[in-house]
């Protein structure tokens, strides 16, 4: 059941020394019923996706749509320009010189897909986001080098300051800290 989130706390953070410990911790936390949590690591860890039960991202679908849109726009531009907007006799070639329109269409497809991928990924990740509560923990500085962190947020229904602290300590971390909001 939801209870009032503590306004003075974002969550509790446990620091681990290696990836295995983090994956174990995340699995155990999930089994313990925690849902609103996040893991932080200096490298991507595929097993974490399972441990945290992350949904598959819809980015590939967006990229496909972006590519299709790019391709259709590219060809449409070429067709419209050559056949409708300003048709000209160029070397007696047909106005709709579709074989010669293919390279540009290909490139606009790639561009559409790549731009969608880039913008889509960062947008879905809600980045840039210069501020986040986890940066308030000094130990977190090593998250980008060689330490692994698990944070259980106060918005989680099972969160209870002492119980969750105890639970995290039971995972044998290097340390547990409070995360200011």
């Amino acid at each position: 059941m939801a209870h009032a989130a503590e306004p003075t706390l974002h969550g509790l953070m446990a620091e681990f020394e290696n990836a295995t410990a983090l994956v174990d911790a995340a699995t155990k936390a999930r089994l313990a019923g925690y849902r609103k949590m996040d893991a932080y690591s200096p490298i991507p860890i595929e097993e974490l996706n399972e441990a945290l039960d992350l949904k598959r991202t819809r980015l590939p679908l967006l990229v496909l749509l972006g590519g299709i849109f790019g391709g259709l726009s590219g060809f449409a531009l070429e067709y419209w320009v050559s056949v409708i907007a300003y048709p000209m006799n160029v070397g007696d070639r047909p106005l709709n010189s579709w074989p010669q329109f293919i390279p540009v269409t290909f490139e606009t497809t790639v561009l559409g897909a790549a731009l969608t991928c880039f913008i889509g990924m960062w947008a879905l990740n809600k980045l840039p986001q210069p501020y986040h509560p986890v940066f308030n923990v000094e130990a977190f500085g090593r998250a980008s080098t060689d330490r692994f962190f698990l944070v259980i947020e106060t918005t989680d229904p099972r969160f209870e300051r002492h119980a969750t602290w105890k639970f995290l300590e039971g995972l044998h971390p290097v340390g547990v800290s409070e995360v200011a909001p």
Binding site: M88, N89, V90, G91, D92
Partner: protein, 481 residues
């Protein structure tokens, strides 16, 4: 406004009346010389020298561009590639390759030509077909005070000529100096390289096979295109160039330069292959270099229907008009030069620098106001004198009629003394150009590239005197397939 009355003519004096009659008739009556009886003096012929003097002989000739030197200050004529040698901005000592070989000379070697006590230092240029042991030097060059352009150009023959021997100098000595001089020619390669660009046959061969011209190259079948050939309604401009009568005189080249504001670029730029003539005359030798067959082939833009230049222009600066002209849009051209690279005829010219003088105000009077003056970075080429076509079209519309055959004369066509260039509407079967193109001798140059040029050439039929010219003319050896 009152008009002043015409002055009344004063009555003519009797002398004036007679004078006018003499001018009209062309002679003064009763002033003819008395008839005289004459007899041939056969002895005089026997007394003429029979032996050819030893050593080389210099022949002094008027220059094909600057004549006797009166035109040295004319940029157009200095840059005009001379007939046969294609030299520009200089004269040279012309000699046959055999003579040069004997003297151990190549084109550009500077020699001292000594006649009596006079010496002229001049570079040599090899001229296939030139008489052996004779050197031709053109008049007019080497002037010191000839204006801004003409001063200090070329080598003055007058230091060798004497009043006794103004035209022929026998017994000259030629010494190699070991120096080199850069002579600039617009065409360095004279050989057809076995390519059937100029198609030739003897009258006998022509009578046996009137279609020899078509057979001498692998040509695309009519209609062999992936697309439907466009139909041109209205006017369809075309040109035919008769190689049988072209003498290579260069009139067309200068006419084109005058008509189309073609800039003069100077010797250094011509040396780097940047001359701007829209129309050039290609000169090919074939056979023995001491006595070759010489061919002249004027090359304007061929106005190809499937122009390779149009397809590769990224900004559509060259497209096809609905009368069949390959239009060059100067103000759209950004100067990628892809069109020039893709032109198999290399008729396109690029303004590598600002060749046209934009500053001198008096040039505005010299230039043709109907033709754009091009800036640097812009491509240009023969346009079938589109300004003249447009003028004729406007005139004919105002007069509510069609353009008559012969009403539009391109500049080159109107200057040609032998009427080698014929231009007109190929959609009109009665036009002069259609009749020329209907001949079996008519062929497109590089037709196998399927460019479908609107300018075609008439193959040469020669009637050689087999006692004088035992060698067979070009083209009959290789049958294309």
């Amino acid at each position: 406004m009152a008009i002043a009355p015409l002055p009344t003519a004063a009555p003519l004096s009797p002398f004036d009346q007679e004078w006018r009659r003499w001018l009209h008739d062309g002679l003064i009556p009763n002033t003819a010389f008395a008839a005289k009886t004459v007899a041939l003096q056969g002895a005089a012929i026997g007394a003429a020298p029979s032996a050819v003097p030893a050593g080389l002989e210099v022949v002094v000739r008027p220059d094909p561009s600057v004549y006797d030197g009166r035109f040295v200050n004319n940029g157009w004529l200095q840059e005009l590639p001379k007939w046969l040698t294609k030299l520009t901005w200089d004269n040279a000592a012309l000699m046959s390759p055999g003579t040069a070989d004997k003297l151990n000379l190549i084109s550009g070697d500077v020699v001292d030509i000594k006649h009596g006590s006079n010496t002229l230092r001049i570079p040599v240029w090899l001229a296939p077909g030139h008489a052996a042991d004779v050197i031709t030097i053109h008049l007019g060059y080497g002037r010191e005070r000839a204006g801004r352009i003409g001063s200090g150009i070329g080598f003055g023959i007058n230091s060798l000529r004497t009043t006794a021997t103004p035209d022929f100098l026998s017994g000259v000595e030629v010494t190699k100096t070991g120096e080199s001089y850069e002579l600039v020619s617009t065409q360095d390669h004279w050989s057809l390289e076995g390519r059937n660009l100029v198609r030739v046959a003897t009258t006998e061969q022509f009578q046996q096979d009137p279609n020899f011209a078509a057979k001498q190259e692998h040509q695309p079948l009519v209609g062999l295109t992936m697309f439907e050939e466009r139909k041109y309604e209205g006017y369809a401009w075309g040109m035919a160039i008769d190689q049988n009568v072209c003498t290579g005189c260069n009139s067309c080249v200068v006419a084109c330069q005058a008509e189309n504001n073609v800039p003069v670029v100077g010797k250094a730029q011509v040396a780097n292959g940047r001359e701007m003539h829209w129309l050039r005359i290609d000169r090919y030798y074939s056979g023995d270099l001491e006595n070759p067959d010489t061919y002249h082939q004027p090359m304007p833009c061929q106005q190809c229907e499937s122009a390779p230049c149009e397809v590769v222009c990224p900004v559509a600066a060259t497209t096809h008009s609905d009368e069949g002209l390959n239009d060059m849009v100067y103000n759209r051209c950004v100067g990628t030069r892809y069109c020039s690279n893709n032109c198999p005829y290399k008729v396109r010219r690029f303004n590598f620098l600002l060749y046209s003088d934009w500053d001198t105000a008096s040039f505005k009077l010299a230039r043709n106001p109907d033709v754009t003056v091009r800036s640097r970075g812009v491509m240009e080429k023969c346009t079938y004198c589109v300004q003249r076509i447009n003028l004729a079209r406007v005139t004919s519309k105002l007069e509510d009629r069609q353009i008559r055959d012969g009403e539009v004369l391109t500049a080159c066509q109107s200057a040609c003394p032998t009427e080698a260039i014929v231009f007109g509407n190929i959609n009109d079967p009665q036009s002069a150009v259609s009749k020329v193109k209907a001949s079996t001798l008519n062929y497109p140059l590089l037709g196998e590239l399927n460019t479908r040029p609107r300018t075609t050439y008439v193959a040469i039929v020669r009637n050689p005197n087999t006692e004088l010219e035992p060698t067979r003319p070009l083209g009959t050896e290789e049958e294309g397939h």
